[in-house]
Symmetry: C2
Subunit: 321 residues, 2 copies
């Protein structure tokens, strides 16, 4: 029997994510009603993921659910917001119980990790598309933006870069067997980490912040444009994982790290006096934080090697159109 | 030249809708930041409209922009919320400047009417799909829900019913010329009125409220289910416009009014003592408010004619899957 929109949402999603006392009214009415904490601002971001564009159509539903939410929580992390609530607009070619149960499970895994409640949704019949809006809170005026970087600020990135792009390339090979490094890279593509804890910690330190979705150079370019400055990047300092180093040529590794996208690490800038706090922060979070360059007075982003020679930029990053 | 996601949003949407002092950060960063008024709760609703499902693919972009926003504001109206901010996730088959300019213009017309600001968005390449999330505010705990109707409460609807369904049927005939009544009905489909003012006024009066999107019987069914009650509807009291009466048979008119959907009028219930306020409210708003039946103790919705005979229900309303 076909389920109506209302029943679909109730059956697969109601109760799947944590309940929160600040949800006055959740799934099931014309709209949700939420209590914003006193002294806080609301932070919100909407992102749509399409089958075959943002994830492979043959990916399993659980990974898709996880990934779509991670991408959204990453936007909130870049603002330094605490994630609280999400809404989901799901367009599906058919009412597939197995797919829906898997998708809901993957989404709920990550939602439970951060105590994020699904408070509303909408389902439609059509080509697979998943729009999630994530909502978070920040103490008033403590959010980070892309603007605010100043010449002399150091540029940092979290974790390692290029893994997701390498993982996607491997995944698309559709091999019968993947070794341990290959599997690790594929996991980095399918289940990116939203750096929520890092974002919260950076609100008191960083002069600017963005998450790396389109590729380091493209996203750093959003910071330099919004901050009206330039940047120089030392490509030999880019954090590359052991798994990535086991793949392809050194040149390909750097290309993935610079322009591959999908890493969902944070790229942020720190003034000289705040740089000293980085080591302890990395230790507290058990997350590498690597200085990869410096903000400059120019308008350009330039890449250098360790020996000071210019590194030509081949590709900025993902273009949506 | 192809525009990137960021440029697309900036070019066609930044500045198109009103600016509001409670938008701390709008379009252009990883997320938007909003100030919620003291003593207010946040009300939010997401809705996705697909080409060929929710609107005809050959509809002009301006009408599509208007309609997609109206559908969302209608959800907020049903809660009694004041609309404030929207986000937009737009999936387009191509970067079509003419279409985007028209869509933005139609959306902005309605946004300006209610001082609603577009604060964030996302564009993707794919089959035409438009997800809008609307955000509003209500005084704490003054929102309306589908629950709360009680046996003996009178059932009211605003405006007239069935116009949009008749309008869609006419639109699909693709005639070279439409007469005045036909054009009026088509406009009711393409540019529904979100009953924002009525919703705000009802927060102090109504025991339950919903907007009529799937059809009167289907949506009234959501009220009776959430309120754990039944309803009886007098089909001869349904408000039918002069334009609708000029079309088709009386039976077809009633079928459209009962099950057609897309009217985006409000259906609400009032206790006996609050019914006396309706006439003045209708006068203040210059909007007909018609009593069409009564909440009962049963679990069923039953339809009657004026002479007391049972009216068989042929179709409840739109099924999403």
């Amino acid at each position: 029997m076909a389920l109506s929109e209302f029943q679909l949402i109730e059956k697969y999603f109601a109760g799947a994510t944590p309940s929160r006392s600040d949800v006055a009214l959740g799934i099931g009415d014309d709209a949700a009603v939420l209590d914003i904490a006193a002294g806080c601002q609301l932070v919100l971001s909407i992102d749509c993921s399409l089958g075959d564009v943002h994830f492979p159509l043959n990916a399993n539903a659980e990974d898709i659910g996880y990934r779509c939410l991670a991408v959204n929580l990453s936007d909130l992390a870049a603002m330094g917001a605490e994630p609280c609530w999400i809404t989901l607009s799901l367009t599906l070619p058919e009412n597939n119980a197995h797919w829906l149960a898997g998708f809901s499970r993957g989404l709920a895994q990550l939602a439970n990790q951060y105590q994020v409640a699904l408070v509303g949704g909408d389902t439609t019949k059509g080509p697979l598309a998943i729009a999630i809006q994530a909502h978070g809170q920040v103490d008033k005026n403590s959010y980070m933006t892309r603007a605010g970087a100043k010449p002399g600020d150091k540029i940092f990135v979290s974790g390692s870069l290029g893994d997701a792009a390498a993982g996607l390339a491997l995944y698309q090979q559709n091999k019968a067997h993947y070794n341990e490094d290959e599997s690790a890279l594929i996991q980095r593509y399918l289940r990116p980490s939203a750096r929520v804890g890092l974002g919260l910690a950076l609100t008191e330190l960083a002069s600017s912040c963005i998450d790396i979705s389109d590729g380091l150079l493209a996203d750093l370019g959003h910071i330099t444009k919004a901050s009206n400055c330039g940047a120089k990047v030392n490509v030999d300092s880019l954090p590359l994982s052991g798994s990535l180093r086991s793949q392809a040529t050194a040149e390909q590794q750097q290309l993935w790290a610079l322009s591959g996208g999908d890493d969902y690490e944070l790229c942020f800038t720190l003034s000289a006096e705040n740089c000293c706090a980085v080591e302890q922060l990395a230790g507290n979070l058990a997350l590498p934080l690597q200085c990869i360059g410096e903000i400059t007075t120019g308008q350009q982003i330039e890449c250098y090697r360790q020996d000071g020679s210019l590194y030509p930029i081949k590709k900025m990053g993902y273009q949506h159109f």
